[in-house]
Amino acid sequence: MKSEVKFIAFKRSFVASLLTTAAAVAVASCSQATSERVAKAPAVKSAQVANYQGTIARVRRMTPEQYHNTVAYIFGADIDVGSPFAPLRRTDGLLASGAASVGVTTGELQQLQRSASSIAAQVIDKGSLDQHTPSRRDFLVPCKPVDENAADDACATKFVKEVGRLLYRRPLSEARVAEFVSDARKGANDLKNFYAGIAGVVEGMLLDPKVLLIADTTEPDPEHPGRRRLDAYSLASRLSFFLWDAAPDDQLIKDAESGLLFTAKGRAKVVDRMLASPRIEQGTRAFFDDMFGFEDFGNLAKDASVYPVMTGATIKDAREQTMRTVVDHLLTRNQDYRDLYTTRKTFMSPALATVYQVPTKPGWVPYEFPADSPRIGLLTQISYLSLHAHPARSSPTYRGKALRERLLCQKVPPPPANVDFSILENPNPLLKTARQRLEAHRANPVCAGCHKITDPMGLALENFDGAGRFRAQEKGADIDASGSLDGKEFTNVVGLGQAMHDHPQLTSCLVRRVYSYATGGPLSSADDGAITALNAAFGQAGYRYPALLRMIATSDAFYEIVEPAGETKAAQNSVSGQSETTAVTK
């Protein structure tokens, strides 16, 4: 079996080398720095964050990215997965947390079936010399059938065991293997083709709720009698989806099999390997893309008559620029999270350089804005400025709202339903700037309440228009970019960046979001103790992101299971024959 796994891994990597993508290169480029990062990460004793309870067992639907990453790991990055999933509902600040409550609709399952069918067809594709496509079946099926036009139980068994183990994130039972081999045999006989039988099995596996749903399975915790913990495979899955945004790799499943995950030392070793892997970049990107609400880029468009510089390439690169900045700052250079809001270091592409009005070279290159530039931190990047604006103008209110909700975990109340805004829209041409217009708006006490929450910091970004271009004036009037944030006054966007840097909720918000993301669902008051402990430990670690990941992933609470407060559960999730099932009633 071991040699077979190596074989398939070798073949997978071979395919990947043939089909190298830019993303793969980008990921690989940071691997060495990642190793250094882990070595430099301040040691944080798990005891510091162990004095709180665990989390509840959840059933999560895979996110589209997790599904895509999992398929890419098992079958190769060039497999076209399509878009078979329904969108998730943002819950407690994260789309990923919405996965803990979303159902799978009939229509969605039909889409998933079509996607599964397409993936299966690609897996057994025999390639084409004319089209210069490789024969995937030669690399992804670990053996050759004796006769390609007939069933071959021995070869099918090898395939089912290897692929099933990775897709189901645990070894398949012998009975389940036999069922799939039987399906492969029937398919091969009916279709007179061994690979067609294999395709049928792959398609079926990809529709199995045990694959598409990440169901936490639990077992009694021998170290804490009366309590339960995740079983080793569920713990491996939780780690992997948290840190890599994908299902566990072969080694992690082996670690689960060996019991390594249930010793503090072993778990630390495993987590350090995962943090050192290039795949940590994939996980980090997924988390921040979610936290920043970057899914909205999928439908971002600007009025071309007002912002002709904002092309599709600009919008795509704006998102990528922020992701590169985050990865470089937090992972490659292992810097203080707070400095993301004051750093002038970033990366530049030709499409973005047009908007920033700076010189650059072809491709992505590191770039640092000068010390006297108003470009300081993530808030002054095109991604934030254009995403939180109208198609043809800026929006201090949208920008302020996003700052509070996305980055500080605060809640901005919705506008009252019965306010007539239009009577406040003064067509007086003397009101040239957004500040002047919003001051008129805030004259209404009903509006003033919410706008006082969003506008003072949003107005500090008014030197940037709806596309993120710098401007000193609006309609010929000088822009006043002064503002305040929760008691801190500033005169311009540099002051806003520093105020964000120093805001205590900047780091506590990150802790909340990361912990929620790690444990697979929205937080509750039961998590308060964990959040408090993590906040303190994060500070002691110098607000280094890898250290935060490590302290969460190695903590006892990460795998200990508690009952949902005030709820009755018929049973803890468990897998028949593998973990004990108990009825717990509160």
Binding site: V59, T105, S422
Partner: protein, 445 residues
């Protein structure tokens, strides 16, 4: 087969632009009077919805008279060509009771689910299209087809339950592939041979269903409901596979055009939205004609419509709150401009069904389309007097060409009427003040 004596026109989509394709009408598929299939089965009656955002300007939207004799006010004058096919419903109300007025949500949720939601993030529960699909989807491939003209998968007004939004098909190319890709069985094909791949799929699926049951038995009560839903979906897939193994009923008017070559450009400029709406509508009409589904949804916009216009700095929703009222006109001119664009697309939608021949009449004769919005006057988020439309005669069960005035009665009466017309065995619809047991009698034929 009888001689081909008539011809019918089907609008197709080629390279993203409309073309007309002449096709023979095969009398052999129908009975003598063209109201039923040759085997005596009546032509199926279908149900659809259409949604637009941000309501109306009452002064220029609501006709001055009711009944069959009414003039189209200027905001809906684009409906001139389809007036005879539609009904306009005004002065019906949605009731919040103790729930808050959730901007751009309360209104449409009442119209689609019969309840006033309590907060912005809650999903509404089962919407009317899903309820009706459970009754009429029959042997079709897709129980419901949900589409949007915005290009955003999230812009859907269809929900299976409080946890599950129906995916909106947003890409004409992907939608074409879904409908008419390799799993499509031409109902008019001369020969039928069951696809052995489908038999293999079905065989594997039974093991997956066992796996679902196994998992279902190990999770808590809340997750068990989600697994129930998953299991239902698998059963539906199984039914679909069974159906694919049967020879489909011939559909004379079913002629599939070519796939669009290019996607419409991303963006919400009204021209782009209008183009996407046309392409998705044409595909939808083709899908319904070919009996791939009997329930369908189209969202012209999200509820707080973000449709924009090049050179005007406010998208529709922003304009609804910021554009000054023109005191001479008595309304916000730019906001009305956006609503008029919505109505043009509504007219296109109805006309697309009306142009599609079926039997001795048109596809629209055998369809009921229910069109709703989220507000009446969006400027102040009012949900009183939200306008609604229907289009089509539902197989002769609905009168058309009427302006129906509700006099403040629940708007849910229209949804309830639609359910009864579609054959649902329900004694009422809606909750609290939106609960109704009274159909809108004026429209029943």
């Amino acid at each position: 087969m009888k001689d081909i004596t008539r011809r019918r026109i089907l609008r197709g989509v080629v390279d993203g632009s409309k073309v007309t394709v002449a096709l023979p009408f095969l009398n052999a598929f129908l009975n003598g009077n063209g109201t039923a299939l040759a085997d005596g089965a009546p032509l199926p009656v279908r149900f659809g919805t259409w949604a637009w955002g941000l309501g109306m300007n009452e002064k220029i939207f609501v006709p001055k008279t009711k009944g069959a004799d009414w003039e189209l006010p200027e905001e809906i004058e684009s409906l001139k060509n389809v007036k005879k096919h539609i009904n306009l419903y005004t002065r019906f109300n949605g009731f919040r009771d103790a729930a808050p007025n959730l901007c751009h949500k309360t209104g449409w949720v009442i119209s689609r689910a019969g309840i006033a939601p309590m907060n912005q993030t809650d999903y509404p529960g089962e919407t009317i299209d899903i309820s009706i699909a459970k009754k009429i989807a029959g042997p079709t491939r897709f129980s419901v087809l949900t589409t949007t003209a915005t290009g955003n998968i999230r812009d859907s007004f269809s929900y299976e339950n409080a946890n599950s939004m129906s995916i909106a098909d947003y890409s004409p190319i992907l939608f074409y592939t879904k409908l008419f890709g390799e799993d499509f069985q031409d109902p008019n094909a001369k020969e039928f041979k069951p696809n052995p791949r489908v038999m293999v799929r079905k065989s594997v699926l039974s093991g997956i269903m066992d796996s679902a049951k196994d998992l279902q038995g190990t999770v808590g009560a809340e997750d068990k409901q989600r697994l129930d839903q998953y299991f239902t979906g698998l059963r539906e897939l199984e039914r679909q596979f069974d159906q694919q193994l049967q020879k489909p009923e011939p559909r004379a008017a079913c002629v599939v055009g070519k796939s669009p070559k290019d996607e419409p450009q991303a963006g919400l400029d009204y021209k782009l939205v209008g183009k996407r709406h046309e392409m998705m509508t044409d595909l939808l009409v083709m899908a319904i004609t070919c009996d791939q589904s009997r329930v369908f949804n189209m969202a012209y916009s999200q509820s707080a419509a973000a449709t924009s216009k090049t050179g005007y700095d406010k998208p529709h929703h922003t304009a609804s709150h910021e554009e000054p009222v023109d005191f001479d006109l008595g309304y916000q001119p730019q906001v009305s401009w956006f609503i008029r664009r919505s109505m043009e697309s509504w007219a296109y939608f109805v006309e697309a069904f009306a142009k599609q021949k079926e039997g001795d009449g048109t596809l629209l004769d055998n369809v009921l389309i229910y069109a709703t919005t989220d507000q009446s006057l969006a400027r102040i988020h009012s949900i009183d007097n939200q306008p609604m439309f229907t289009a089509g005669r539902a197989g002769g069960k609905i009168k058309t060409g009427l302006h129906v005035v509700g006099d403040g009665t629940p708007g849910t009466r229209l949804g309830y009427t639609a359910m009864k017309v579609m054959g649902l065995d329900v004694s009422g619809w809606g909750t609290q003040s939106n609960a109704t047991q009274k159909e809108i009698g004026e429209i029943i034929a």
